[in-house]
């Protein structure tokens, strides 16, 4: 594929540079499995019906008549993670809420995507310094798209969704992490524990070391 086409927008199901006679264009398509597969997925990204804070209201607004996310196949909000493809982290992630979010993420079937909507989900935003705030969901979950704004307008959200579609277009069944052989669930994130503060169990050794160092200094 030429370079400008890489950057260029989605071109439909057919592979470029194949001339299909006009009279059978309705019934014949020349494409690859990847392309067919991605074509199906990009138009049916079902978000998890999951609102955290202010951004959730703009997420609802994006679903309503004026912005109408249904145009992108994203109107089917699923309250259960078992049926969702995409988790829209719409709002401030607090330490108290985090274990629930991780659990929801682990319950989602693959392929799954995470979109960090707004400043809070991306980095902690205006509340970053707070004692109960996680400075960005990307400390725990692999984020695919970040949408800036506080809150992002519905237009910005839709732009972010289109970015996600572009990302889906570029994926290949051969390479995506969830079809790799010999690995058990590479996407699994261990549950953090609510202790005296939030304990990310993957970093236990580090915590122990830092706590010991602090003791030595004091």
């Amino acid at each position: 594929m030429e370079e400008h086409k890489e950057e260029n927008k989605y071109e439909g199901l057919n592979l470029p540079n194949y001339n299909i006679p006009e009279d059978i264009q309705n019934v014949v398509s020349i494409t690859t499995i990847d392309r067919l597969y991605n074509w199906g997925r990009r138009w049916s990204v079902w978000p998890l019906m999951f609102g955290l804070a202010c951004c959730a209201i703009e997420m609802i607004a994006a679903q309503t008549a004026r912005y109408d996310m249904a145009r992108f196949g994203m109107e089917v909000m699923r309250p259960t993670p078992r049926q969702a493809d995409m988790m829209l982290v719409s709002g401030t992630v607090t330490k108290k809420m985090l274990p629930s979010i991780i659990r929801l993420y682990n319950q989602m079937p693959e392929p799954k995507y995470v979109v960090a909507m707004g400043a809070c989900a991306s980095s902690g935003g205006p509340f970053k310094e707070g004692y109960n705030v996680v400075a960005g969901i990307d400390k725990f979950l692999p984020v695919d798209v970040y949408i800036p704004g506080c809150p992002p307008t519905p237009q910005a959200l839709i732009a972010g969704m289109m970015k996600l579609q572009e990302k889906i277009d570029k994926q290949s069944i051969k390479k995506v992490r969830w079809y790799e052989k010999g690995k058990n669930d590479s996407n699994y994130v261990p549950m953090p524990i609510l202790g005296p503060d939030l304990i990310d169990v993957r970093r236990n050794a580090e915590y122990k070391e830092a706590a010991a160092k602090k003791e030595g200094a004091a």
Binding site: E58, Y131, V134, L194, K208
Partner: protein
């Protein structure tokens, strides 16, 4: 000064010469009650002086004076100014203050919050657990000697952010490279997290008496939330069920606790303004309003005439869109997924267009300033507002009513399902439409008029049955009254400056305290501020109506079916940003 007015109506010192003294610190008002006599004095305040509504309970940590103060604001539901009384205790753990739960049940959650965030132990409170943080969390964050993981400096603006032109990452100052604090020598491998036994024990496990030969049945505990489509955000409710009937229930919150107050105490006065937007994120204009009033009271400055009208217009528009969404969401919860809320959001978008035109943002308007507003309304936007108010909105409210009011399913689900009666509502400090639907005409725009509300001719919407259908109808009544106010405000709005002060980033605020309250669409929204004359508030507390209204949810929902519980919760129109702050 408006502040000392509250003390003039009631002379507590004459009534209790031994246990009450007047608060004579400059800028402060009210009375200081000895801790030993607190319950006795509070009972007298309620019964003899008629202050039946406990508005707010909060604590202030005076670290330098080695003193903790608990501040109570009480009001009469018949209207008029409130009364402030305080009790002071030495700041030595355990800090113990008698609980006023027995006098006003509305103290329940607020005392738990003060325990959670300030470590004030209320003796005699029936269920003193942490409320916003989780059980097992280390420390009481709102104490002045508590420093967060990402602590930089005592107050903003931080000087350390750009030393010698280089930026500093706050992450590098923390040994864990994260927003974390652990006690010394903490060993995460051998840590067993506290399970939630306390919560489940607090549910009243009713013992089931079984007669001989009965089926072996048991109550089950169901957790709803924090991820649940009907809890309006991240509220969690632990429910004990007997079949489908709720026998006991406890709300669990704090899943959106974003430390509004702690961050607020480090910000300058103006820097707090955009944070207030994010409290009740449907009504940023109303939140701004309350906060501006609280600071203006402290600064003792007037508000520009035109700005007062602009404020009223924005606040009432905000109320209308809030109630529209309430109706849409309520019907969502009743099972009619999405269609009614599409109608609601259509009107909301038009109102948000106006907000965007005047403030630059759809939701987070950050529009008010001390002494006025930040920008004038352009003429074309004013025309747009007029078109909406005189033309479109009345018709749309009628249309909505025509669609819904007689709907059989809606009437069947709502009519006759009891929410609260007046007495219960007042006892639990419930304010806003829920209180008015129970027959108490308590609306701050009338009861204790602020801004220019005393110039408008409007009725306080009241309904008398206190069932869900009344709670639903009263929102339509309120929208109509808001339209009446808007019509008058749009006709009367004068020309002139929009701010009585020069635009400034840093305001000078004299030492003292103030309590600014407004009638937000959800209830009585109030801000309690303590200033020590520095650029940052010493104590900043939000009396959030959604949070305090939830106190009644337990009483309200006992004995109802779990399907009704979802709708009952919707009645309070809670917003988690405000509940958890």
């Amino acid at each position: 000064m408006t502040a000392p007015a509250s003390t003039q109506t009631v002379d507590l010192v004459a009534r209790f010469p031994d246990s009450v003294t007047a608060d004579t610190r400059p800028g402060f008002s009210g009375f200081i009650v000895k801790k030993e006599n607190l319950v006795e004095v509070a009972t007298a305040i309620r019964d003899e002086f008629g202050f039946d509504l406990l508005s707010s309970v909060t604590g202030v940590d005076y670290l330098a004076e080695n003193m903790m103060e608990v501040v109570y604001h009480v009001h009469r539901t018949t209207g008029g100014p409130g009364l402030v009384f305080k009790t002071q205790v030495e700041r030595v753990d355990p800090v113990e203050v008698p609980s006023l739960y027995s006098v006003w049940v509305g103290a329940d959650f607020q005392e738990r919050e003060a325990w959670d965030l300030l470590g004030i132990k209320f003796t005699g409170h029936p269920d003193l657990r942490r409320i916003l943080m989780w059980e097992g969390f280390e420390g009481h964050p709102l104490r002045k000697d508590y420093k967060e993981g990402f602590f930089e400096e005592e107050t903003k603006p931080f000087k350390s952010r750009w030393p010698d032109g280089h930026h500093n990452y706050v992450e590098f100052k923390n040994p864990y490279r994260d927003n974390l604090i652990f006690p010394e020598g903490f060993d995460p491998d051998n840590y067993t997290p506290k399970n939630e036994d306390d919560l489940y024990f607090s549910l009243e496990r009713s013992s089931m008496k079984k007669a001989e030969g009965d089926l072996n049945t048991d109550h089950i505990v169901v957790n709803m939330g924090p991820h649940h489509p009907s809890t309006h955000g991240v509220l969690r409710v632990a429910v004990e069920l007997n079949g489908e009937t709720i026998t006991s229930l406890k709300p669990v919150m704090g899943y959106l606790h974003r430390n509004h107050e702690k961050i607020g105490e480090r910000n300058t006065y103006l820097q707090i303004m955009p944070y207030t937007d994010r409290l009740d994120y449907f009504n940023s204009m109303a939140n701004n309003f309350g906060y501006a009033i609280a600071v203006e009271k402290l600064m003792n400055i007037p508000v520009a005439e035109r700005a007062e009208y602009i404020r009223v217009i924005m606040a009432e528009l905000s109320r209308i869109q809030n109630h529209f969404i309430f109706i849409g969401m309520l019907i969502n919860d009743l099972g009619s997924m999405y269609t009614p809320s599409l109608y609601a959001f259509e009107e909301r978008e038009l109102i948000l267009d106006i907000f965007e035109a005047v403030s630059g943002a759809r939701m987070m308007c950050n529009y008010f300033r001390f002494g006025g507003v930040v920008r004038d309304i352009p003429a074309d936007v004013l025309q747009k507002i007029k078109d909406l108010v005189f033309d479109r909105l009345p018709a749309k409210i009628d249309e909505m009513e025509r669609f819904l009011n007689e709907n059989e399913v809606l009437v069947g689900r709502l009519k006759g399902v009891h929410v609260l009666n007046a007495e219960e509502a007042i006892r639990h400090s419930v304010t806003g439409p829920v209180l008015r639907a129970a027959g108490v005409p308590y609306d701050l725009r009338r009861a204790d008029p602020y801004s220019v509300y005393d110039r408008f001719d409007f009725d306080v919407a009241v309904r008398h049955n206190g069932d869900m259908y009344d709670n639903y109808l009263i929102r339509f009544d309120e929208m109509r009254q808001s339209l009446r106010i808007l019509e008058q405000a749009l006709k009367q709005i004068p020309e002139g400056p929009i701010n009585s002060q020069k635009p400034q980033y840093q305001v000078r605020v004299p030492a003292g305290e103030s309590y600014g309250r407004i009638e937000s669409p959800k209830g009585e929204l109030a801000y309690y501020l303590v200033s020590n004359g520095k650029p940052n508030p010493y104590r900043y507390h939000v009396r959030a109506p959604s949070f305090i209204n939830l106190t009644a949810v337990e009483t309200m929902c006992k004995g109802v079916k779990i399907a009704d519980f979802v709708a009952l919760l919707a009645m309070f129109d809670i917003v988690m940003g405000e509940v958890d702050r």
